[in-house]
């Protein structure tokens, strides 16, 4: 990655260099946004909706999400589908760190966004998965309809298409 960053700095000052980088970024973003393989990671009832989105009726393969992978090493996208408990939090974080860059996170449902129905009067629930890993897209609902998750996933694709992997700052893995 350091080699690529240095090469980008050299190309950027060349005539028509920024243009070349922008075009390259477009290709890169297009490739990334259209092969986002999600991690099989269901924590509660939202996982049922997530499975529904993967199955034939809603079928996220149509948009390049293809298939949910059982290993974090094969996955680009973590859909946190369900309640993150204090016991699960270290494991969720470990799975996130095991995923290769570039990686994205969708917080699906009220529990993953803020603790949801477990926000008050509960001793064992983490109040939002964004306390342990960075989140790109929040999909509200309890649980969200499959269309809502699909909408969130497409929003993530749009977000990736707007990103600047070469010209901008490299994405930081926050040490939370």
């Amino acid at each position: 990655m350091a080699v690529i960053n240095n090469a980008c700095k050299v190309i950027q000052v060349m005539p028509a260099g920024p243009f070349l980088l922008l075009q390259t970024e477009q290709v890169l973003n297009w490739a990334r946004a259209n092969s986002l393989w999600p991690l099989t990671f269901g924590l509660a009832c939202c996982a049922i909706e997530f499975m529904s989105v993967g199955a034939s009726k809603y079928d996220f393969s149509r948009f390049g999400f293809e298939v949910a992978r059982a290993s974090p090493r094969h996955a680009d996208l973590m859909v946190v589908a369900g309640t993150v408990t204090e016991k699960m939090a270290p494991l969720a974080r470990k799975l996130y760190l095991q995923m290769p860059d570039p990686k994205y996170v969708i917080a699906m449902g009220g529990c993953a966004i803020s603790g949801g129905p477990f926000c008050y009067g509960t001793y064992s629930v983490v109040r939002g998965v964004d306390q342990i890993i960075p989140v790109d897209v929040y999909v509200p609902g309890c649980p969200p309809r499959p269309e809502a998750l699909l909408h969130g996933m497409i929003k993530l694709q749009e977000k990736i298409m707007r990103s600047h992997p070469l010209l901008g700052e490299p994405r930081k893995i926050e040490e939370l």
């Binding site: 204090e86 016991k87 926000c119 008050y120 009067g121 509960t122 064992s124």
Partner: protein
């Protein structure tokens, strides 16, 4: 046996026992007698309680006690019984029934985890639901935790 027969059987076997009405019947025992009593209930052919159904604890801070309930069922006779055991809240220790019904192993671990009941002679008494480094027993009525945000509404 039906409920009244079972009650009669228990009162014949243990004349001083207190049997509370209900479905299932509750046979109240004390901590010294529970092991012997449980063994008899399992071994006697007339009762033959071979299946441990459920185990839970009731926290009663006013009377300073925990009440432990063990639910038993007989596959052969299709009758059920509940054992009730009151223990002091301060010392919170009870004999483990794992030696008689191994199926109570995880139930007792759960009750240790959430209420802090110390089961004597349990083969593997450690937390089962909460993280291993958790402090306190969250289902006790006097449990305090900064995570327990009060409801704003």
């Amino acid at each position: 046996m039906n409920l009244s027969q079972l009650k009669e059987w228990c009162l014949n076997r243990w004349p001083q026992a207190s049997v509370a009405e209900g479905d299932p019947l509750t046979l109240n025992v004390n901590a010294e007698a529970i092991l012997e009593c449980a063994l008899i209930l399992k071994k006697e052919e007339e009762t033959d309680f071979d299946f441990p159904v459920c185990h839970w604890v009731n926290d009663n801070p006013e009377r300073e006690i925990f009440t432990l309930y063990y639910y038993l069922y007989s596959m052969q006779h299709r009758h059920s019984l509940r054992l009730g055991l009151e223990i002091s809240r301060e010392y919170a220790s009870a004999p483990s029934l794992c030696g008689i019904w191994p199926g109570f192993n995880w139930y007792e671990r759960e009750m240790y985890d959430l209420f802090g009941v110390d089961y004597k002679n349990h083969p593997d008494l450690r937390r089962i639901l909460m993280p291993d480094n958790w402090e306190g027993f969250p289902l006790r009525k006097d449990y305090q935790d900064p995570r327990l945000l009060p409801k704003p509404f």
